[in-house]
Structure formats: structure tokens, C-alpha cells
């Protein structure tokens, strides 16, 4: 072991150290939601946590923030996860790791979702028609979490068999068998089930239950 640095300091040597200024300027302006928190001990905490919170909340839906419930915020960011070939969708938002309090991302996104669904802006009622029946129904798509649940609810509501998306068996002669189609934002009628559920929710305008032998 080399000589010069103190490898085992003593309390005496350190007790003469003057307390460091509380404004640790450890972060450059471009990083850190917690810059405000850092700047002074007397900083009013609520302003800093609100700036953190707005950043944290907005990051939730787009990026994975692998926070564990302990304070090991940065360790969860394994730098080796960054690969050059990763698409822009997957580039990690490292900044969001600085969030406080240290709540797991999976939990955080559930809570954010819950707080959104309690406000009416996040229910998604669409019209549903069944072929041959002039009066339609309305259904809240956000009450369901998967295609399966949706098809089940509609089958029950309209008292018919609706084939699940992904089942490729179309009966040759279909009597009371239907499939589910939807009108997207561009006005086109599409088969339900080809795109991931969340993406479907953003593009669906209305639903139609069509006879299977028509498709």
C-alpha cells in the first residue's frame, strides 16, 4: 500500500474539518430534478418535491425507472443496460432515477393510473353496434384491461359469441358467431386485436360487432 494518502484517518484529523456548505453544487444545471432540493438546507421542501413530482409523474408512462423501494436509486440504473443498438424508445431517462421518494416504478405507475382513473377524463366510452340492430350501446373501454375482457363483456352484453382476437379459426358456416371490428381515427374499419391493447385504446373511435362470415 502506497504511503502518502491517509488510509486510516482519525477522528481528530477530521474534527477540524469545517462543515461543508450545504449547497452541494454537485449537479450541473442540465441534470437532476433534485437540484432544488440540493441547493440549500433551508430551501422550502415543498417546492422542490413538486418540481420533482411533476418530472417524476411525466416520466412514468414513457420510461422505465427501475427504482427499488430502498434509496438505491442510482444502483438500479445499471449503466450496462445502455446498448448502442437500442431504439430511441428504449433509451433510459437516467434523470428520472433521482426521484424521491424511492418508490418502485411498477407501483408508481399503478398509483398514477389510479389517480387518473378516478378523474372522469380517463374513462373512454365508445359506441358499440351489433350488425342488424339499429340501437347501439355504450361501453367504457377503460373498465377493461385486455381484449379478452372486452370481448367477454361484449359477448355478455349482446348475448352472442364473439371470437377472440388471435383465434384464427373462422367457422365456415357461422350462424350466431361474430367478430369485433373498430373504426380508427382515420375512419378505417379494422379487425380488433392486431395491435397492443394500450395502442388500441388510443386509436379506437367506435366498435362494431360483425357477423363472422362477412370478414
Amino acid at each position: 500500500m502506497e504511503e502518502e494518502i491517509m488510509v486510516m484517518g482519525t477522528l481528530e484529523q477530521l474534527s477540524s474539518v469545517s462543515p461543508l456548505s450545504s449547497s452541494s453544487s454537485s449537479s450541473s444545471p442540465t441534470t437532476h430534478d433534485n437540484n432544488n432540493i440540493n441547493s440549500s438546507i433551508n430551501n422550502h421542501p415543498s417546492s422542490s418535491s413538486s418540481s420533482c413530482s411533476s418530472l417524476c409523474v411525466s416520466n412514468v408512462s414513457t420510461k422505465r425507472t427501475d427504482l427499488s423501494t430502498d434509496l438505491r436509486l442510482g444502483l438500479s440504473l445499471s449503466p450496462s443496460q445502455q446498448l448502442p443498438s437500442i431504439s430511441s424508445q428504449q433509451i433510459r431517462e437516467h434523470r428520472s432515477f433521482d426521484c424521491w421518494p424511492p418508490v418502485k416504478s411498477t407501483l408508481r405507475s399503478t398509483l398514477v393510473e389510479k389517480s387518473q382513473t378516478t378523474s372522469s377524463s380517463s374513462s373512454l366510452f365508445v359506441k358499440v353496434y351489433m350488425e342488424g340492430i339499429p340501437i347501439g350501446r355504450k361501453l367504457n373501454l377503460r373498465a377493461h384491461h385486455s381484449y379478452h375482457a372486452l370481448v367477454k363483456a361484449l359477448s355478455h352484453m349482446f348475448k352472442t359469441t364473439i371470437l377472440c382476437p388471435g383465434s384464427h379459426q373462422l367457422p365456415l358456416k357461422s350462424g350466431n358467431v361474430h367478430v369485433l371490428t373498430y373504426e380508427d381515427q382515420e375512419g378505417d374499419w379494422m379487425m380488433v386485436g392486431d395491435v397492443p391493447w394500450e395502442m388500441f385504446l388510443t386509436s379506437v373511435k367506435k366498435l362494431k360487432i360483425t357477423r363472422a362470415d362477412r370478414c
Binding site: M8, G9, S80, Q81, L83, L107, L111, H145, W197
Partner: protein, 486 residues
């Protein structure tokens, strides 16, 4: 590895990037492969899982806990051949999309040794009874979304199916839990030892009814919707409780949204003699409460407290919480893990260094006044293995003075502290058996003066030398050059 250990049976990885190619290699190279646990991993898709399903004839355990999987389709599950019956544990709770439910039902019912089944949110509640009936020997279940149109037939079907699982001891899942469906689990509450309700956004009365029936409960994870009242009932009902975690339902709100305070934790510490592991998020704390908790539970081994507002003082006296945490380390002589929060001075670290002799892991945020704080910990905690620090005024002196200590530890993490780039270089140069990694996204640290603080510092002992696979914002300080970029 495939060449070297063809008889490899188990692989467990955490926080690693795993590709589909790797999964394919695993699937095809290890004939007797039995256990794959990927914890918080990422980089693979359901195609990789398909390879595992199709090829690993002897697979017993597939656990993807909290991994991020690119979920291309739920078809992969059907790739388990009909002849495959050895599954004992399946955890797909992290998957986003629906798996093929029929394939899942068939898989579950043909594997007689299936003990653990953790479903993902996309498995609808009305399909759960079939799954349970196919595996009445199940010991651990994670439900999917715990909500459905309220229909009596669905409810009774579910309750009956739960009642048939006489060995079920662990329950989790409960996404989107509808309170009216919670009673379906009442028939088995008395046999439960572990209950994870951290995704169940239901209110206190419903939680209380559930929890009060679980007389054998040893582990409870729950949201703060349970409130102080609920924790009091817990303390009265669950005398075997060993671990409690209470998570915040509104972590970023400025005002409390629930009636959960330090009192809840005090009640549990009084009523549950075996309580030894705590993780508690709350918005107020007092030295008096911490003192009471410490005296009630000297058998505490893990104590992690997160007072949501950084630097919150004792709400009664407005003093720092040094004495309260001091009481914890003094009375809980077997304390192995501690997380601090609230307003804390160097004094708390003096207590920790003095009393925390068995402490192995310490997490610190927004605490302390000076390097003395860090020095107390590094010089006093004989068994310290992992130390993680953020936003504390700790700098070069304590770090360099205790450099040798770092070789006895597993790792040190410091972010947003006052450690200078120059000190990191010195540390790296003088301690060849440590990897001193500096992470800085604003550019190479040597583009700034040596005295400027680094964003993040990670120090750990190594026999393998510096890593060669780091991304551009990570630098190793070592003796070859002051700065090496991989």
C-alpha cells in the same frame, strides 16, 4: 458457459441485459436446465421465452420478476409441449400482454408439482377459478387484475375455487382490486402467511376486514390506505407478524391523503412481538415514537423509514430525528439494515458508528452536516457491506481517510454529494483492488476542474479489474490513466 458447464441447471440474474439470443443458447445448450430467474432484467422478448418453453424439458422454475420484457405476443406459452409437466414455479407478473389463456390453463393443470403461480395483470378474474381448480396444490398465487363486472356467479365460482386451495399460503397481485370481490378470499385467510396488497388500491375498511381474518399472517405489504386504524387492528389480529411494508398511495402529493402517521407503526411495534422487518412510508415522525418502537422491538433486524418530505424534523419538537434513530441502533442490537430519513445531523451518524456494530446495509438521503458524519459510519460500523448515500454534504476527506474500509465492503454509492473528481482519481489510483466508477452525464469529468463534484460515484471491490462494457457516461478511475473511457 455452454461449453464449460453443459450440466448447468440454474441461472439467476439480476439487473442484467439478457438477449433473446442468450435465452436461445440457454434453451439449447443445457440439457438438464431447471431454473431460470431473471430479476429486474431486460433486453429480451417473448421470443426468447418461447425458446425456453420449447426446449427446456426439465424446467422447474421460470421467474421473470420485475423484468422488462418486450411482449410481442402471448403465444410463447403455447410452446411448452404437451408432454411437459415439470413446472413448479412460474412468475410472469411483469408481462404486459395477455398470454394464451387456454394454453395457460392446460399447462397449469398438467403440472402436478406447480406450487407457485404469479399471473400478470392481463389475466382476467373470471378465468382465475379454472386455473385454481387445475392446481389445488398451489402454495403461492399472484392474481391478475382483481376486478370484473360484479356478478354473483363469478363471485361464488371464485370463492369456491379459492376454498379448494387448501395449501395456499401466499397471495399477491390484486391489481385494480374491486372491494366487493375481496371476500372471495375470506375462506383461506386463516391459512395465509404472506399477503401482498401493494397494488390493491382499496380503502381502509375493506383492508381491515381482510387482514383481521389472517391470524397466521407473517408478512404484509400494503398501501397506506390501511391507515393508523387498520394497523391497530393488524396489531391486534396478527400476532405472528414478522414483516410489514407500508407503501405511499400518493407519494408525490404535498398533503397527506390518508390518516397514516407514526402511530400506526407504533401500534404494530407494540402488538406484534415477532416484528423484525419494517419498511414504512409516512409523512410525520417523532423522536418519541422512534424511541418507543426501539424499546418495544429490540429484535428488529431491518428498519427502513421513509418520511416523504426530505429533512422533515420531529413534528412535535421540530428537532432533528437523531435521537430517535439513535435509539433504534442502540436498542436493536441485531440491526442489519437501516434506512434513514427526516432531518438528521452528524450526530445520528455518531450513534450509528457507535452502536451499529452488526449493521450491514445503510441508506442515507438528505442528511448530515459534514464529512464527520460519513467518517463515523465508515470507521465505526464493523460489519458494513453496502452503503448508499444521496444528497448529503459528504466529501473527499472522509472518503479518502477510510479508503481501506472500502475494500472490506461490497459497495459504496454516493450521488449528489460533494466528492470531487480529483479525490476519485486519487482513490482509483491508490486502491487498485477497487473499481472507482464515476458517472456523469454532463460530459467527461476532466473537462471540469478537479475540485468540481462528481454526479455519481460507485466504488466496489474487484478481482477482475475495471469493466470494459460501460456506456459513455461512466468512467473508471484507475492507475493506468487518470481517466479511462471504455
Amino acid at each position: 458457459m455452454a461449453g464449460a458447464y453443459p450440466w448447468l441447471e440454474e441461472i439467476r440474474l439480476k439487473r442484467m441485459v439478457v438477449s433473446d439470443e442468450s435465452l436461445e443458447i440457454i434453451a439449447k445448450s443445457f440439457k438438464n436446465f431447471k431454473v431460470l430467474v431473471l430479476s429486474s432484467c431486460e433486453g429480451f422478448t417473448t421470443e426468447g421465452l418461447a425458446a425456453i418453453a420449447a426446449n427446456c424439458r426439465n424446467l422447474r422454475e421460470l421467474d421473470l420478476r420485475e423484468s422488462e420484457v418486450e411482449d410481442l405476443s402471448g403465444r410463447w406459452l403455447s410452446d411448452f409441449p404437451d408432454s411437459y409437466t415439470s413446472l413448479e414455479s412460474l412468475n410472469i407478473s411483469c408481462l404486459g400482454n395477455e398470454v394464451n389463456l387456454l394454453a395457460l390453463e392446460r399447462l397449469v393443470s398438467r403440472c402436478p408439482n406447480l406450487k407457485t403461480l404469479r399471473l400478470n395483470r392481463a389475466v382476467p378474474l373470471d378465468r382465475l377459478p379454472n386455473l385454481l381448480r387445475g392446481a389445488p396444490q398451489l402454495a403461492e398465487l399472484g392474481t391478475g387484475a382483481y376486478t370484473s363486472e360484479m356478478r354473483p356467479d363469478v363471485f361464488s365460482n371464485l370463492a369456491e375455487a379459492f376454498a379448494g386451495c387448501k395449501q395456499l399460503k401466499t397471495l399477491s397481485g390484486f391489481w385494480d382490486a374491486l372491494p366487493s370481490y375481496l371476500p372471495a378470499v375470506y375462506p383461506i385467510c386463516s391459512q395465509l402467511t404472506s399477503l401482498n396488497l401493494s397494488y390493491a388500491t382499496v380503502q381502509s375498511p375493506d383492508l381491515i376486514k381482510l387482514v383481521s381474518l389472517c391470524e397466521k399472517l407473517q408478512k404484509l405489504w400494503v398501501l397506506d390506505y390501511i391507515e393508523d386504524d387498520g394497523l391497530e387492528i393488524l396489531a391486534a389480529s396478527c400476532k405472528d407478524l414478522r414483516e410489514l411494508r407500508v407503501f405511499p398511495s400518493d407519494p408525490f402529493g404535498l398533503e397527506p391523503n390518508v390518516a397514516l402517521t407514526e402511530q400506526g407503526l407504533v401500534s404494530v411495534s407494540e402488538g406484534c412481538p415477532k416484528l423484525q422487518s419494517v419498511l414504512y412510508f409516512c409523512r410525520q415522525m417523532s423522536n418519541a415514537a422512534l424511541n418507543t418502537i426501539a424499546r418495544n422491538r429490540p429484535n428488529m433486524t431491518r428498519f427502513r423509514l421513509c418520511i416523504i418530505e426530505p429533512r422533515s424534523p420531529d413534528y412535535l419538537t421540530l428537532q432533528p430525528l437523531d435521537d430517535g434513530f439513535g435509539a433504534i441502533v442502540e436498542h436493536c442490537k441485531d440491526l442489519r439494515r437501516l434506512s434513514l430519513s427526516g432531518l438528521l445531523t452528524d450526530r445520528v451518524f455518531e450513534y450509528i458508528g457507535t452502536y451499529g456494530k452488526k449493521l450491514e446495509m445503510l441508506s442515507v438521503a438528505f442528511a448530515g452536516d459534514s464529512d464527520l458524519g460519513l467518517h463515523h459510519v465508515l470507521s465505526g460500523c464493523d460489519n458494513l457491506r453496502k452503503l448508499e448515500i444521496r444528497d448529503c454534504p459528504f466529501g473527499d476527506k472522509a472518503l479518502l481517510a477510510n479508503a481501506a474500509k472500502l475494500e472490506t465492503m461490497r459497495s459504496l454509492w454516493m450521488s449528489s454529494c460533494s466528492v470531487s473528481f480529483g479525490a476519485c482519481k486519487v482513490l482509483g489510483q491508490k486502491m487498485p483492488r477497487l473499481n472507482v466508477e464515476v458517472m456523469d452525464e454532463s460530459g467527461p469529468p476532466d473537462s471540469r476542474p478537479e475540485s468540481s463534484p462528481v454526479e455519481k460515484l460507485y466504488v466496489y471491490r474487484t478481482v477482475a479489474g475495471p469493466r470494459l462494457d460501460m456506456p459513455g457516461f461512466v468512467w473508471t478511475m484507475d492507475d493506468d490513466s487518470a481517466l479511462r473511457i471504455s
